[in-house]
């Protein structure tokens, strides 16, 4: 098990190195560089040259990459070319915000999804089941930007105005304000993800409920509720966890759109900003952070899977 973990970590490291190299090359293929973007329509050839020299953009590519790797290894992620702020600070701030959003969405998805899926499984084939499955199905099919804009229109519009239309407020300024800014974007993400969890719980539970050991427990006199909670649910959670891990990847795509709709200052918009401004140090850290989160989440899901089901062993 430990050997498996180590090997996985090694390949994760390799993947991250690859990601950083690809991003570096790709961004240098794009027309223009950070200096062009900073000067914009005020650029003159001399101003451009001077700025490029100052930013080190006139050095050969390999040298620039090596220099970046060198400083990263010592923990220095550099300064954002477009924002003139330390990359680590900017990314940290945005990452934290996106994490809040993602976590809020995932928590709601689990808290709402698993009971819904359980309910659907217990009332299989009946109207409630149909209703739940249909609703979540539609939720996953409608693009997040449509759901988000609809929520914006109805709940944050001039008529109801229950929630702010955009942005983010620090926790320090008040928990209610902070929470209010999270609700609509989190709701949008939740609606998109609910179907996965509901489905998995429902089908996993449905399979398990017909298993022999459940019948044994029933014959022994255990109440149906106890059966569900004690035995069935634990096994049904296995695929749910894998789905959540897969959701993380899906989440990252969805999060960009949601952040755009609600102007939520998170990683998604930061990545777009970094690419549009050819901000190499910023983009590199963003790409690595996002790739790490994705890859580590999958890894964690595999480990959790193994922990929950003693029958699974990795070699």
């Amino acid at each position: 098990m430990a050997r498996y973990a180590l090997r996985r970590l090694a390949s994760i490291a390799l993947i991250l190195v690859l990601v950083s190299a690809i991003v570096f090359v790709a961004i240098h293929v794009l027309p223009g560089n950070a200096a062009t973007l900073i000067l914009g329509e005020y650029a003159t050839p001399e101003a451009l040259r001077t700025l490029e020299r100052e930013m080190g953009l006139d050095r050969p590519l390999l040298v620039q990459y090596a220099s970046w790797v060198g400083s990263v290894v010592t923990g220095d992620w550099g300064v954002s070319l477009a924002m003139k702020q330390p990359v680590a600070t900017v990314v940290g701030y945005r990452l934290r915000n996106s994490a809040f959003l993602a976590l809020a969405a995932l928590i709601v998805v689990v808290v709402v999804g698993i009971p819904l899926g359980t309910l659907a499984a217990l009332r299989r084939g009946r109207p409630l089941d149909l209703a739940i499955v249909t609703a979540t199905y539609v939720g996953i099919s409608i693009p997040e930007f449509v759901t988000g804009l609809l929520l914006l229109l109805v709940l944050a519009g001039p008529s109801l105005g229950w929630f702010p239309t955009s942005g983010y407020v620090e926790l320090a300024s008040g928990v209610t304000a902070w929470a209010r800014h999270l609700v609509l974007p989190a709701m949008t993400l939740t609606i998109a993800l609910l179907a996965h969890v509901v489905r998995q719980t429902r089908s996993g539970l449905a399979d398990v409920l017909t298993a022999p050991y459940i019948r044994t427990a029933r014959l022994k006199g255990a109440s149906p509720r106890r059966i569900v909670l004690r035995h069935a649910l634990r096994n049904a959670l296995l695929p749910t966890i894998t789905v959540l891990a897969l959701d993380l990847g899906y989440l990252m795509g969805g999060i960009v759109v949601v952040e755009e709709v609600f102007a939520y200052p998170g990683m998604g918009r930061l990545i777009i900003y970094a690419v549009q401004n050819r901000d190499v140090p910023l983009l590199q850290m963003c790409a690595l952070v996002v790739a790490s989160v994705y890859v580590l989440a999958n890894f964690a899901a595999d480990l959790a899977y193994a922990w929950l089901d003693p029958r699974i062993r990795y070699s």
């Binding site: 993947i15 790709a26 961004i27 693009p143 804009l149 229109l153 089908s203 795509g253 777009i272 790409a287």
Partner: protein, 267 residues
């Protein structure tokens, strides 16, 4: 058994309707998509403009009818590209096995680890935002996933009797791969493809919404919603009309794909 019983039927029916309307757009659309009526901007549904107008006074009904074309083209094209890229790779990796399989799967995993949005962003910024480049980006992002699935299916079939028989007959590897294994791998591939179309359309619309896909002044559902956003509190119709069309289409594809999967018995 996770989908609704009539999924195939319902999904298929909606799909047929969407495809028919998109195809017939040039004949049934009441206005040209670029015709502007400056004095009738952002109007709600009425006698002249059945579903209202957008910010330039263009007819929403006509634009929505035509707006399905880039959306569908993007979705179908991207998945087709993903299949074209992923199937040969998956087949080869699964069939040949060993070091090649390891290496290819390493690369595929790395690509899967690469945030697909970032990939799309880089491709599109490098080449320029357009429908074609969005198609390329989504297709390339789909490739690794398809490769994976095809590889698993190939691995399962590698030792099957008809394969061993073909090899014993002396058939070339290429024939075995594409002549024997591929037809048997087809059902899950078809199901996978159909399931992915819905998400490809969603991805394409998302890219257009972000300004990275179809460009103005074209009529496209994702782009229309992007343009509608600014005016959403002035008039909800530029959002609602293409939004509904988009949602119905994606639901239809997903339903159809799910129904197909159940029918063909694959997972």
């Amino acid at each position: 058994m996770t989908s609704l019983p009539p999924a195939l039927g319902v999904g298929g029916a909606i799909l047929a309707l969407v495809l028919a309307l998109s195809f017939a757009a040039p004949w049934i659309a009441p206005f040209p998509t670029t015709e502007q009526h400056m004095l009738e901007r952002l109007k709600p549904p009425g006698a002249r403009f059945l579903l209202g107008t957008d910010q330039y006074g263009r007819d929403l009904l006509s634009r929505t009818l035509f707006g399905g074309r880039p959306a569908l083209g993007l979705g179908l094209g991207a998945v087709a590209l993903g299949l074209v890229l992923g199937v040969p790779i998956g087949l080869t990796a699964g069939y040949v096995g060993g070091r090649l399989d390891d290496l290819v799967m390493r690369v595929v995993d790395a690509m899967l680890a690469f945030p697909s949005l970032l990939l799309a962003l880089l491709i599109i910024t490098a080449l320029g935002a357009s429908t074609g480049h969005a198609l390329l980006a989504i297709g390339v992002a789909n490739g690794p996933g398809v490769a994976r699935i095809v590889r698993s299916a190939t691995l399962a079939l590698r030792e099957a009797e008809f394969v061993l028989a073909a090899r014993a007959r002396g058939e070339r590897h290429l024939y075995v791969m594409f002549g024997e294994i591929f037809p048997n791998v087809l059902p899950p591939v078809i199901v996978e493809g159909t399931l992915r179309i819905g998400f490809a359309i969603l991805a394409g619309a998302s890219l257009s919404f972000l300004g990275l896909g179809v460009q103005p002044p074209a009529a496209d559902w994702g782009l229309m919603i992007r343009e509608a956003r600014q005016y959403v509190f002035l008039s909800p119709w530029p959002l609602l009309v293409p939004g509904t069309a988009l949602a119905f289409t994606i639901v239809a594809f997903n339903l159809f794909g799910d129904g197909l999967r159940d029918r063909l018995g694959a997972t």
